[in-house]
């Protein structure tokens, strides 16, 4: 279960070194989250419909925030244009479910695939720009996607379209069904994020973020690594859009292509802790709770979000998770490396 890598030096009476990735903390953290997922899967049987419905929103925000964190926190690609793929995903569900009559699960997978395929050519435009101009560039690209989508009267043009495919299901069943899909999608995205950060891609990605020149001289293929993560984030945003479509049964271009999605993702990641896997989860809980409490206040609520976000960037740069784990290094996921020395007799010593 615990992967370890023995390093031996030939012919020398040196002790044996082992590299561990799991710690007691991450074993507890990961299994705790596993239990939480099982409990959440049973939630539709335990709470009323409005809570279940609100939780769909939570999972949509969570998977958007986790993937935005991969882009910006791990990859240094600050995108303000993920709403392009949210819109593409939402429209993909409507087209594949209503026009072609495909199964709803299949349409969600197709939403991810279509978003990923479109992200490929888009990335060539976006990657011409770096840093701050990359941010506005992705925004422009999202606007271009929106302006093209509203050209087609077949999918409602500028006024939007309703999803007919799931409207004949009873409301309770439809919402519970959407909830499980959303939960499943969030878990899959989380697992992929953990795997990415653990893998060579994650290592290469952070190397590129920290110093492009050093990374490329060390043999990292900069654009290829960036592009893979960009496409993964697009696919996840496509799934988020698909979830919006099946939970609200309505797709309006001004709302699915709204830059406000980017604002929400950014807020969640900044408040939770940018560049950590735990941060977006904590940030999503905080944001979701604030939304349930304050969303009725409209502009005032958004002003508050803006102020809180700025205060975190200026004074709590690591976010909530960074503040919590500042003293003692905490990790809920097995992504770090632990180096320890064990002597020939097998007794272990601290490094």
């Amino acid at each position: 279960m615990i992967p370890s890598l023995p390093l031996r030096a030939k012919g020398l009476e040196t002790p044996e070194y082992t590299v561990r990735r799991w710690t007691r903390m991450s074993i507890w953290g990961t299994s705790g989250l596993g239990v939480a997922v099982v409990v959440m899967a049973l939630l539709p049987f335990m709470v009323n419909l409005s809570v279940t419905y609100a939780m769909i929103d939570f999972f949509i925000l969570l998977l958007l925030a986790m993937t935005w964190n991969m882009l910006a926190g791990y990859g240094g690609m600050v995108s303000v244009g993920q709403q392009a793929y949210i819109g593409i995903g939402a429209y993909a569900v409507v087209v594949f479910a209503d026009t072609f009559g495909l199964n709803i699960i299949v349409t969600i997978l197709l939403a991810a695939i279509v978003s990923a395929i479109l992200a490929f050519p888009i990335s060539f435009f976006a990657f011409r720009l770096v840093g701050g101009y990359f941010a506005i560039g992705t925004w422009v690209l999202a606007e271009v996607v929106r302006l093209i989508v509203v050209q087609f009267p077949q999918i409602g043009g500028g006024s939007g379209v309703s999803l007919a495919a799931m409207s004949d299901l009873p409301k309770e069943l439809r919402i519970a069904f959407s909830y499980w899909i959303a939960l499943g999608a969030a878990v899959i995205v989380l697992v992929v994020c953990v795997w990415l950060v653990r893998s060579r891609i994650g290592l290469a990605l952070t190397a590129v973020r920290d110093d492009v020149t050093a990374a490329s001289t060390s043999g990292v293929r900069v654009q290829s690594v960036r592009r893979r993560v960009f496409i993964f984030a697009a696919a996840a945003a496509g799934v988020a859009g698909a979830l919006v479509a099946i939970s609200t049964l309505r797709v309006q271009p001004d709302s699915v292509f709204s830059v406000q999605w980017s604002a929400f993702m950014i807020f969640i990641v900044v408040v939770g802790g940018v560049g950590t896997l735990e941060g977006p989860i904590i940030g999503a809980i905080i944001f979701w709770a604030l939304k349930q409490l304050l969303a009725d206040y409209g502009p005032l609520y958004l002003i508050l979000l803006g102020i809180v976000g700025i205060v975190f960037v200026l004074f709590v740069r690591g976010g909530v998770w960074g503040a919590v784990s500042r003293r003692k290094r905490l990790e809920l996921f097995p992504v770090g490396y632990r180096f320890s020395r064990s002597d020939k007799d097998g007794s272990k010593q601290a490094p």
């Binding site: 950014i266 200026l314 740069r317």
Partner: protein, 289 residues
Amino acid sequence: MNLLEPIVQGILLGGLYALFAAGLSLMFGVMRIVNLAYGDFAVLAAYGSLVVINVAAVNPLVALVVVAPLMAVLGYVLQRTVLQRTLGASPLPSLLVTFGLSIIIQNALLLFGSADQQRLSLGAIDTASVELPFGVRVGVFPLGVFVLAVILLGILSWITARTQYGRLVRAVSDDPDTVTLQGANPKIIYGVATAIAFGLVAIAGVAAGIQTSFSPSSGSMLLIFAFEAVIIGGLGSLWGTLGGAVILGVAQTVGAAFAPAQQILAGHIVFLLFLAFLPNGLSRRKVRA
């Protein structure tokens, strides 16, 4: 179809975009900050003039004399208190803070004003037009804005090329640490650059408010146009920015001549073509980000 008229109007529209782009370009050139709230500050200035007009019953140009210095002061204070803290190797903090400011400004304007479209008026000048050679009629006001843009860009490029402050700006843009060793304070240079950029954005915001209408949410579009002009023109070149703004303006008006609803999309497409085939823009200069 007579394309001469849309082309001339596009060139003049480019003057307005150049006014926007100059400040964005200046802040990026000096501090490597991309101000995502830039368009919203323009809208804020337009609303500010609206308030001055309603209180003092003056015309928008007089209001601008009050608003532009106020915006410059706001820019200086904002740079010294907030933006200065976000400077560093990573562009992330400054992007996040300016995006937060953008949301705050938009929603504050919604809260204190309304979502309606507003417009500033100069009276008869709004609709006055003059006839140029070849029978092209253009508005007096857009023509005035274009001339103003050329004059202001000229002054700005004279400042950066010839004055002591301009030398400091170029030095600090290359290497702030060495400038500090020589006894200058980069923070003040940054503050003044932001003040100039905010003064420019106030002028641009009021000009846009007279030429077209504005609402609390129109800042994003202004930011995007300014950005497109900067990229088409090429980073780090003021005259390139003017060229980029003119190309964007012409793309939009010519696009609108063919399909009236596709004005903005036409501009975006020309921008994407430049990004794909001429990523360093008209000036062809490579600039580190």
